[in-house]
């Protein structure tokens, strides 16, 4: 590995002998850089301020979750997935549980489907709130950070009351959820919906129409639809390039086939488009929760499963839509209590490597905005 301590190192020039001689040079951005939101190193090749190449170096927090899964029971695997994309922890848990349920051919009660969908959407909201806060801060606006965290607190409080944890919730288990919802859950969620519906337009007022913000994001970080599909860029980042990749629409799971919501697709292909998709998705999430919260059916919160789960031999693939894009869980079973092989296709991994194509030819200061709008979570990339 090259020396990460030397911030700037010279590189041989291409031998141009014009009057003003220019030289390409390398800059290491990270692994400890505030705007990477984790330990990610980007090796930038620069020509003055212009980016010529972005080479991501990952693996600083690789924990080999896939190898660990080969020794663990299915119930234990669920808890490891919290530590991938910690901002979409509920969806990650859900992906594994759905894969196991698919293998067992287990139909979970309707109540479980509704609870899972509501909490998924609350998780998506809290993830987008945090993203909105730190995105503003990356671009120099401290207020957004405070606003984002203020509103996110309401959701984490609901989670804490429901399952005891605020971030890594571990609320899903194969067959259902760990406990029934708290008696206050519906009331508190409805209070939150009312509260956040008033606050969300403030987000628009603060950033969306802000001249400085628009100048720094509009027409910056272009990613065409062909490239988005080829790189497998999913989630809001893919949909801003016109790629209809919402798994909730394509392959509905839990209660998504019973609610009415729009898949937000824009064709801007730039940082501003990615920003707008997430803001619009927050309105859609509110809309989904509204339809479900008063209609949670009575019944069990968990289907009966055996204490030791063994899946029939075969391959099971389950995809879910996390806040960052498509998470795929690929389980190969050989009828033992732990899987033969598990692969997590994480959205962050595929999204990150489109950065080189997006950033080429733009200024180094714009890179921060591009990374913010890709919404990277590093443990999700490294696994």
């Amino acid at each position: 590995m090259s020396n990460i301590f030397s911030l700037i190192s010279d590189k041989d020039s291409k031998g141009t002998s014009s009057a003003t001689e220019t030289q390409e040079y390398f800059v290491n951005m990270g692994p400890q850089h505030p705007s990477t939101h984790g330990v990610l190193r980007l090796l930038l090749t620069l020509d003055g301020e212009i980016i010529r190449k972005v080479e991501p170096h990952i693996g600083y927090i690789h924990r080999s979750i896939e190898k660990m899964c080969e020794k663990d029971s299915y119930q234990q695997i669920v808890h490891l997935t919290d530590r991938m994309d910690y901002l979409s922890c509920h969806m990650n848990n859900e992906a594994v549980c759905l894969a196991v349920e698919k293998g067992l051919q287990l139909e979970v009660p309707d109540r479980v489907k509704f609870i899972r969908t509501i909490i998924s959407e609350l998780t998506r909201l809290s993830s987008h709130q945090l993203w909105w806060g730190v995105m503003g801060m990356d671009l120099g606006a401290i207020t957004t950070f405070l606003y984002g965290f203020r509103d996110r607190e309401q959701i984490t409080d609901i989670f804490e009351e429901t399952c005891g944890a605020r971030l890594t919730m571990n609320y899903n288990v194969p067959g259902g959820v760990m406990f029934d919802i708290h008696p206050n859950f519906q009331k508190r969620t409805k209070d939150f919906l009312k509260y956040f519906k008033e606050k969300l337009p403030e987000y628009d007022e603060l950033l969306t129409g802000n001249v400085i913000f628009v100048e720094r994001t509009k027409d910056i970080g272009y990613l065409s639809k062909e490239d988005a599909i080829s790189f497998g860029v999913t989630g809001p980042s893919g949909r801003a390039s016109g790629f209809a990749c919402d798994v909730r629409k394509k392959d509905p799971y839990s209660a998504y086939d019973r609610v009415d919501f729009k898949e937000i697709i824009r064709t801007d292909c730039d940082s501003f488009g990615r920003y707008k998709v997430r803001i619009a998705e927050m309105y859609e999430s509110l809309h989904i929760i509204e339809q479900l919260i008063d209609n949670i059916p009575e019944g069990d919160f968990k289907a009966k499963t055996k204490a030791v789960i063994k899946l029939p031999p075969g391959e099971y693939y389950q995809r879910v839509e996390t806040a960052r894009g498509e998470l795929g869980v690929y389980v190969i079973s050989d009828n033992k209590k732990s899987p033969y092989r598990v692969k997590f296709r994480s959205p962050g991994f595929s999204n990150l490597f489109a950065l080189d194509t997006m950033a080429k030819g733009y200024k180094i200061a714009d890179l921060v905005a591009m990374m913010s709008t890709l919404d990277l979570v590093i443990p999700d990339i490294d696994r």
């Binding site: 190898k67 209809a244 990749c245 995809r319 690929y330 033969y340 991994f349 490597f353």
Partner: protein, 153 residues
Amino acid sequence: MSNDELKNRILKVVPEAEFSEEGSEFLNVTVTPEHLHKLAEDLKNNAEILLDYMFCLTGVDWVSHLMVVYHLESTVHGHKMVLKVKISDRENPAVDTVSDIWKTAEFHEREVYDLFGIKFNNHPDLRRILLEEDWEGYPLRKDYKDEVNIVEL
């Protein structure tokens, strides 16, 4: 395109391909390394098939052989398929890269190289991606031993 139509189309390109629909929700096609690139190119570029979105690429160690698994989907037609390559040579496993067909494959292939030791011919930049460059062995292989970091229970 239905699975049967897909099958017929693939048989025209690679007559030796093996099919299976058991134990999986997708159509599974297994080919040998020499046929992979030709078939992959056809699957991506043929307007009727157009499997343009690779949503997963990974490796599996079946002890008797290694396998690379490609999950493919068409964003236009909506059909999905799983392409598998069986590599019998465990000592020196190699298969052609498909990173020229699907760009995301470049990085997923680096991960498979890193964790399974499968080499991808003609890959533009085949290096370890998650582990350090001087790491010994390929951790996701079933015969991998690491007495320091893996505690056997």
